[in-house]
Amino acid sequence: MTISLDKQSVADVTTQGVAAIELRGINKSFGPVHANKDIDLVVGKGSIHGIVGENGAGKSTLMSILYGFYSADTGDIIVDGKKTEIPDSKAAIESGIGMVHQHFMLVDPFTVVENVMLGAEGGAMLSEGIARVRKELGRLANEYDMKVDLDAVVGDLPVGLQQRVEILKALYRGADILILDEPTGVLTPAEADHLFRILRVLRDEGKTILLITHKLREIMDVTDMVSVMRRGEMVASRKTAETSMAELAELMVGRSVLLEVNKQPAAPKAPLLSVRDLNVKDERGVMRVKNVSLDVKAGEILGIAGVSGNGQSELLKALSGIMQAETGTMDLVGHTIDLSKKHTAADFREYGMSHVPEDRHRMGLVNSFAEYENSILGYHRDEAYSKGMLLDVAKVRAEALERMDKYDIRPNNPDLQVAKFSGGNQQKIVLAREIERDPDVLLIGQPTRGVDIGAIEYIHKRIIEMRDAGKAVLLVSVELDEIRSLADRILVMFDGNIVGERTPDASEQELGLLMAGVTDEAAQ
């Protein structure tokens, strides 16, 4: 199956009814990152239109453009048939667009009434506005079954109700088009169901809903149309009734050119990393990793596949000592570790674990530091790098230069700021640092995200070499092809659970179904 921009279904919508929103050729770049590339989108009036894509696919950027938070570099926005400029949120509100942000835009110490009226006070004095808000909210609450205590302090409300306040805020401002950015990320299933009921009522009243999510089940449940984004591009639009989770999953993850990786069959030995009953909650208290147990043997690569945001990040963080787990134990090269206690990444490094984090900019590197400084991050306390109380800078620099030659990191200037290297070279800097310590267990997250083809090949080769040297490698990637070509065993994660184990020759479709949360048996 090939995937291309599906003009046909876009045309379908326009002929069927009036478009509430039409986007034409939207482009947006942040520095070197092209977050939105030539986006075309048609959203029918009175419909629920889903936009799916992985984290970082550009969905939120696109919606921020629509809500006037960013302005597009090029492209047109057409609202209700009229070409509209949306330079700021005020203009968006005036065009009848309301947005419920992923991170709520609420003032925590304010009451519900104060939050709703902020920006729409209707006069320099508050007293009249307060009366009006109360009356209007009473009406909205009855009409859409959205009851909330108007005098409650918003920060004290549970997240489900906070979200309701956000929706009420948009409706109070007369929004006809409602954008919801990942609305169910913080909700319990029951709250999510209630939200969807509200959305259907709103649609039936003639409102247009844009639902941004990476959860396919929600798309299938509640939307009329769905558009898929991948790496900044709108890759397809489908009628929800005519598509399937498997197709959407495949569209989201994409099929890049399958890179040939030469490797011998694995010769796994005893496990070097064993995890039992791991449960991890994120900062908001949502359970992200649920009862995960796994073993990584010496001389094998265990791949964790899954649509991003299904707990893989938290799994890596918990195993590397960055995040404290709720429960769980880990056997790491003969050391038994209680993961529900507090640990540091340095503790685990001592035991022979290295970690190439998913997000090299935020966790793997200090962008404003020189390359040689980055080359010892986390190992800077090592006696070998010190000269009395000081760093032995000459030695660090010499070693950095040596590694730059070995890993073909260009330009080979250890004094250059890390931010000035390309993505592939930055990744090699992290990889060199972690691999050259000769760890027994290597955790790698998204090894080739934002990396050019040449570097991908190089990085893959190194990972295989680690395996062949008898190390245990845990590889987390949202690139299914990467997992399939590198891993010796594949575990699929969905909603925090390991939903199935497969060998790398399992079909893409089968893995795609697992990634979409279809049960193990059904996927076979």
């Binding site: 938070f69 949120s89 003032v107 110490p109 304010f110 939050n115 902020l118 920006g119 508050l126």
Partner: protein
């Protein structure tokens, strides 16, 4: 004894006034999310402007206006650095303190050649005490008479203005649209931005109000309390006002009581100078001067209850990439 109490309270009112202006000034700025450690500098700049202009024109109102203008200019510099250019607000505030302390003395010396002072003001170039109606006739009424005649009456107009600014501030902050937005922008500028309100313009208005109120404080020092500008005459009052603001948890009425408390400590310090306390001996005056800070530290340590500042105070607003 009663006379002494009246005297101390009277002195408390006078000493609290500049604190109160500065504290309310800081309240506007910090409620909007802009930390203002430059209250001190703005007061000093205002005091110098007031002293100079009142001397040149012989009119205290012109002095007051000059103080307000200069103080607003300093505020706008702070705003430009911290709102427009998203600089570090502490550094910017400290810079303003240095600027005001240095420039006032430099210009004072260059213009008047009196070691950085401005020339002594005539009585009509200053804000004179106002005797309220019937003050003299009720003085002999026991108890209430002296309270009215000596404590409430007999202050200059800026003292009354300071205490009237308290309910005014309360009303603005809690009862007007501007106040709602002001409170919101210090807590959650993103919410304000997405509500279609300009964060930048809102914060600028807040620092302008802050500047105006600091101007009142400065003018009070130079042309109401004293008869001219003296080098470093603000003497840390801007910092005490900041401490009072924290003590008051950024609330106007509490701010008044905090300023009165700190003014009272100051008045006691003056009274106790060189006096023996029975059983203890002479208490060093520095002890009383340090008390406002000690009280604030005790408060911040959580003994009296937590002071939670506006959530985004000190954080420049950047539309973040998501």
């Amino acid at each position: 004894m009663f006379d002494v109490i009246i005297l101390v309270l009277d002195s408390t009112l006078r000493l609290s006034t500049p604190l109160l202006f500065a504290c309310l000034a800081g309240l506007f700025s910090e409620r909007s999310g802009v930390v203002d450690i430059g209250l001190e500098g703005k007061m000093l700049g205002g005091a110098f402007a007031a002293g100079t202009v009142a001397y040149l024109t012989g009119n205290p109102w012109a002095g007051l206006l000059a103080a307000i203008c200069i103080s607003i200019v300093l505020s706008l510099i702070h705003g430009f650095a911290s709102i427009t250019n998203r600089g570090n607000q502490i550094v910017s505030g400290v810079a303003i303190n240095f600027l005001a302390a240095g420039l006032s003395v430099l210009l004072g010396q260059a213009w008047f050649g009196q070691g950085g002072r401005t020339p002594q003001l005539e009585i009509e170039a200053r804000f004179a005490p106002i005797t309220l109606p019937f003050a003299d006739s009720v003085r002999d009424v026991p108890f209430l008479g002296p309270i009215y005649a000596d404590l409430i009456s007999g202050h200059n107009i800026l003292v009354y203005a300071a205490f009237l600014t308290v309910p005014l501030t309360w009303w603005i902050v809690f009862r007007t649209r501007f106040g709602l937005r002001l409170r919101a922008v210090g807590e959650s500028p993103h919410a304000v931005d997405t509500a279609g309100i300009s964060v930048v313009w809102l914060r600028y208005r807040a620092v302008i109000i802050c500047g105006a109120l600091c101007g009142f404080a400065g003018a009070y020092l130079a042309i109401a309390q004293s008869a001219g500008f003296i080098k470093d005459m603000s003497a840390g009052k801007g910092f005490i006002a900041l401490a009072a603001l924290i003590f008051a948890k950024w609330r106007p009425v509490s701010a008044m009581f905090a300023c009165l408390l700190f003014g009272f400590l100051d008045a006691i310090a003056n009274l106790m100078q060189g006096q023996e306390v029975p059983g203890i001996g002479e208490v060093p005056v520095q002890f009383f001067q340090a008390l406002p800070y000690i009280l604030t530290v005790v408060l911040l340590a959580g003994f009296i209850g937590r002071a939670i500042p506006p959530k985004n105070v000190g954080v420049p607003y950047v539309k973040e990439r998501t």
